[in-house]
Amino acid sequence: MSAASVESAPLLSVRNLKVHLRVGEAIVRAVDGIDLSIEQGESIGIVGESGSGKSTLARAILKLLPNVELAACEGEVNFRGLDLAGISDPALRDLRRHHGFAMIFQDPLGYLNPTKRVGAQVAEAIGGKSFGSIGDRVQQLLAEAGLPSPAQIARRFPHELSGGMRQRVMISIALASEPALLFADEPTTALDATLQLQVLETLRRLHRDRQMAMAIISHDLGVVAELCNRVYVMRDGKVLESGDTVEVFESPKHPYAAQLIELSTRHRRHAAPVGSKAVP
């Protein structure tokens, strides 16, 4: 990477991205012309109700969409000066293995191989040579994601772990390539309230310590408010509003964004107090 030209440009820039999915006979415009950018080490949030195209957007950017359902996928995606639209398979794999991007998913049970020990699943994500043995590196990654006694956890199968532990294993897998950008798709939705806070805390720590850019996708505005400097509000495959998180949340310009924030805060008021400190 040539430092001078890249420093000024954003880490990721997306322009006019369109993803049309084929659902039976119909064509769904899941992502319909989206512009988005993420700076080096920045943390952004993407919020919207379910079905607004958040997950599809993330997968389209990281090229993780299944080909069979695609009717069209066009637009410009630029990562560190690399055009992802026309990237070759080996180059893409290289980005995923070394310091490129990684993703964690909402449902860690479904996204971990049920028949492989979690240590092996983390190990195969490690790109390139690392200090010491792969096993040491695996334990180091598990510990970094906040798992206690990583040596024992590495020998377990996914179904033997709790939901929070599984999400931490997912995080270890994502960290293995030392990514510059981490996409987290509803990282805490499948977890109960205390675990949510712990996992968010872990993500915040990693973002800070590793200088890793993050994109948090969530329908939970509280999560985004906690972690992200900037936010995009999505609906029906379009970005309705974007900007500084505090500004958008305090004085939304778009009526839909206002409604979403209003509903969310009302919901929070009725829900159990979430602010209490997490039990380790």
């Binding site: 997968r59 290289d94 998913f105 996204y111 199968f157 179904h159 033997e160």
Partner: protein, 322 residues
């Protein structure tokens, strides 16, 4: 694991008893004179009738006879086949290895071929490669095995003369060692091939469906996100997780074939359990029929145990719950 095996074997005992009971009950319900059925179309002398009646407790009630059959079984006595003039156990011990040889060789060809075709078409779904293999497998599976067998005999044995048309070996053989093996393989080739084509295409269809299913799982996306190559994903994540449906179907196929591949052995006059069963049924040799039924049940039970163990070996979630 050992406890699991012992537990399953203990479970097999009542199952086996039930199978024998049902077979005996069915024979009881068949109309006709059992003594006459035993000797065939010959006049029966009163002394012989009395002796047989006494030996098999034919004058006793059904439960008593079932009981005595079980007592005989426990002494290793499967009864005597008057048609073959030999103890039933001898007949089974002689023919069963032939059936086991035929089905296991056919099976060992069918599994890798089926798995390979299944993976190729499952990973290239709805492309031309997939259409080719899927249609081929469908056609091959649709051909009845007896017709496929006859076709193979006609083309490869009668017209081209590459293989013998039937049997298991020459009437007189002086071959030993490796030559003997080659001679056997020559006779084994066509029936094993017919079995392999039929079952291999069945396995391919099962494998294709489960590979396609596995490819839709979330952990495949995780594997892609890790930057693994396509081949590494198939090898490390798809293969193992796609095996479970195949294993249960393959277990069913092997279990039922071991109890006598009736059609296959009849077409190729392969002197195994299937052929023996056909002859025994035709000659109303009830003792032999019951004996084969017991062997078949035993084979199914053993294979099911193996299937369960394989399941547990492949999927840790099953291991945990058992």
């Amino acid at each position: 694991m050992l406890r699991f095996i012992l537990f399953r074997l203990l479970h097999a005992i009542p199952l086996l008893i039930a199978v024998i009971f049902v077979v005996l009950l069915m024979l009881q319900l068949i109309p006709g004179d059992p003594v006459q059925a035993m000797v065939g179309d010959f006049p029966v002398s009163p002394e012989f009738r009395a002796a047989i009646t006494k030996q098999y407790h034919l004058d006793a009630s059904f439960p008593v006879r079932v009981y005595s059959y079980f007592v005989n079984l426990l002494h290793g006595d499967f009864g005597y086949s008057y048609q073959f003039q030999r103890p039933v156990l001898d007949l089974i011990v002689e023919t069963a290895p032939r059936t086991i040889l035929l089905t296991s060789v056919g099976f060992l060809i069918a599994i890798p071929v089926g798995v390979l075709i299944g993976i190729i078409s499952g990973t290239t779904r709805n492309k031309r490669v997939d259409h080719f293999w899927t249609s081929l497998a469908l056609v091959a599976y649709g051909i009845p095995i007896f017709w496929l067998g006859q076709l193979l005999v006609l083309v490869l044995a009668v017209h081209l003369g590459w293989f013998p048309t039937q049997g298991m070996g020459p009437l007189v053989s002086h071959a030993h060692g490796f030559a003997w093996l080659r001679e056997r393989a020559h006779y084994l080739a066509l029936p094993a091939l017919a079995f392999a084509v039929h079952e291999g295409t069945r396995f391919a269809r099962i494998m294709r469906a489960s590979v396609a299913d596995t490819l839709g799982q979330g952990y495949i996306i995780t594997a892609r996100a890790k930057g693994l190559t396509r081949w590494a994903i198939i090898r490390k994540h798809v293969l193992r997780n796609s095996c479970l449906p195949l294993i249960s179907v393959a277990g069913y196929v092997l279990g039922s074939a071991l109890g006598g591949a009736v059609l296959l052995e009849t077409v190729f006059t392969w002197p195994g359990l299937g052929l023996l069963l056909v002859q025994a049924v035709r000659m109303r040799d009830n003792m032999t029929v019951v004996g084969i039924a017991i062997f078949a049940a035993l084979a199914v039970i053993v294979i099911n145990l193996v299937v369960d163990l394989l399941y547990a070996a492949i999927d840790p979630r099953i291991r945990g719950s058992s």
